[in-house]
């Protein structure tokens, strides 16, 4: 390993990951993408991705900036529909059903597949109402207080806010707001939670709290996280997918290079490009 690579991931660090990553063997594939390509207008953003996400695992998507990681993530819950020029080709099978098929309602898709965004985006409401809003809208109004408390507890936020539930969510710190967004997402009992660089706007302590949470949450949910921080992926993910930018005359688009159990990606990557990235030889 080059001495100057600050981003080099030493094998020792992997071995000291919080716990041994779980295997995908005999697990159900919650998602299976087949030839998934996303373009914005004429520009291709992500090309031909075949990837399976397995139940109750944390799957990380890593890669250099601009390689379509977020675009890929957002196509899993049809958030790309909100961008008028976005076009999706290929299939995204959710428990065997193509979420882009006829008769599929994006509203139902998003109810089952929640999302936490890069920048914490709590509603301009009280802490309680932030969590309760989704529950009310979706008709899960029985034992509202109990559901809110459960969600906030699962997000490791309950103790910090239980005495100020009616205060505005904007009074919380960045890290707390992000955990509130997480609580809000899991309150509606999704199947999957997608996290788009959830800690990139947070300080290290808040980041580590979020990472700890993921270890707990994966028992109940399936998690997919996009991160530009390799060490984070190494710490939290059971499986890691490496995307890179493939250059063409018209610019470039993202492609999936390699997808495997996290230790393997970081210590014995099969593809040269993966090795180049994880050892920090390119940005």
């Amino acid at each position: 390993m080059e001495a100057d690579t600050m981003r080099a991931v030493a094998p020792i660090e992997i071995a000291q990951a919080r716990e041994a990553p779980l295997s995908a063997a005999r697990r159900e594939a919650v998602f299976e993408t087949r030839g998934l390509s996303v373009s914005y207008g004429k520009a291709l953003a992500v090309a031909n991705v075949d990837l399976s996400i397995y139940r109750n695992l944390v799957t990380a998507i890593i890669g250099p900036s601009g390689c379509g990681k977020s675009t890929f993530l957002r196509s899993l819950n049809r958030m790309n529909d909100l961008i008028p020029s976005a076009k999706v080709d290929g299939e995204v099978l959710y428990h065997g059903q193509n979420i882009y098929g006829d008769g599929v309602d994006p509203v139902e898709v998003r109810r089952r597949i929640g999302m936490v965004f890069q920048k914490p985006n709590p509603f301009p409401k009280s802490i309680y109402d932030n969590v309760a809003w989704g529950l009310r809208v979706l008709g899960m109004k029985d034992d509202l207080d109990g559901r809110v408390e459960r969600a906030l507890t699962q997000a490791a936020l309950w103790d910090e806010v239980k005495d100020r539930l009616k205060k505005s969510a904007f009074g919380l710190s960045g890290g707390q707001q992000q955990r509130l967004c997480l609580a809000r997402a899991i309150a509606v009992e999704p199947d999957v939670v997608l996290l788009d660089e959830p800690a990139s706007a947070l300080d290290p302590i808040a980041t580590s709290k979020i990472e700890d949470l993921m270890h707990e949450l994966k028992n109940e949910y399936t998690l997919v996280i996009v991160t530009h921080n390799m060490q984070q992926a190494a710490r939290v993910a059971d499986r890691t997918a490496f995307f890179t930018l493939e250059r063409t005359e018209s610019g470039g688009h993202g492609v999936l290079v390699e997808y495997d159990e996290t230790p393997k990606i970081f210590t014995q990557p099969g593809d040269q490009r993966t090795e180049g990235y994880v050892t920090g030889r390119f940005g």
Binding site: H95, I99, D105, E108
Partner: protein, 294 residues
Amino acid sequence: MAVDVAHFSLTPSPRTRRRKLVNLLMQALATIAALAAVTVLAVVIISVAQRGASALSWDFFTKTAATFGQSGGGVANALVGSLVIVALATVMAVPVGILVALYVSEFAPPRVADLVRLVLDVLNGLPSIIIGIFVFGLLVIGSGQAAWKGSFALAIIMLPLVARATQEVLALVPSSLREGALALGASRWRTVLGVVLPTSVGGILTGTVLAVARAAGETAPLLFTTSIAANTVTWDPRQPVLSIPYDIFVLSESADPADHARAWALGLVLISFVLVTSLTARLLLVRHRKRLEG
């Protein structure tokens, strides 16, 4: 592994279907509202165009009103009168408006700038009839009506519009431009007059055009300041003159259908003028913005 397909179903549940129905209903209501607004616009413009077009003629534009009882005649005096009044108002309002905007944007301390901006916004919101009564009390009582007094009232209405538009465009001038000029050793006043203002001309023009469009259509301020006029075409601002909006006002309240026809025709002229100037202003704005931000 048994997968509970129903649990993960992606087709809408009955509850979701109901929610989507509500969603659709709301979308329909919003669309109807927008449609209603556009329809009213169309109805008004078509009414004016249809009824006004038939009364247009060469006489209409060149003759003054016919004497009582006779048919024919035109509105030449109102056309000329409006031209005089609005032109004079523009001359009064634009320089002052630019100066006020310059003060707020280049010289005023923040608190003072806020105050002046508030004053301008309040002036803008004053009912125009109050401004007419003000000018009446200030200038007309004791000395009689005159076109320029009407212009003064219109200028008060135009002032906030010109000042605000100028302010907005001055704010768009990048500070790097100002700093560059000052760094070269140019003085403040040279920077403002030689660099900042010329860059803002487009926006100032747009603001002026919009203010003119607004002033041309105002009736209330003219009621008290220039309404009792002789039935001749006069270019003298010291005389009270007839104006297009005031003429429409008077004709609309008459019982004579011939008067109504003339009112529609005048309305057509006025609307056409206002629409053309508004569109021009919009195009100017787009072009100017492109140039500044491009």
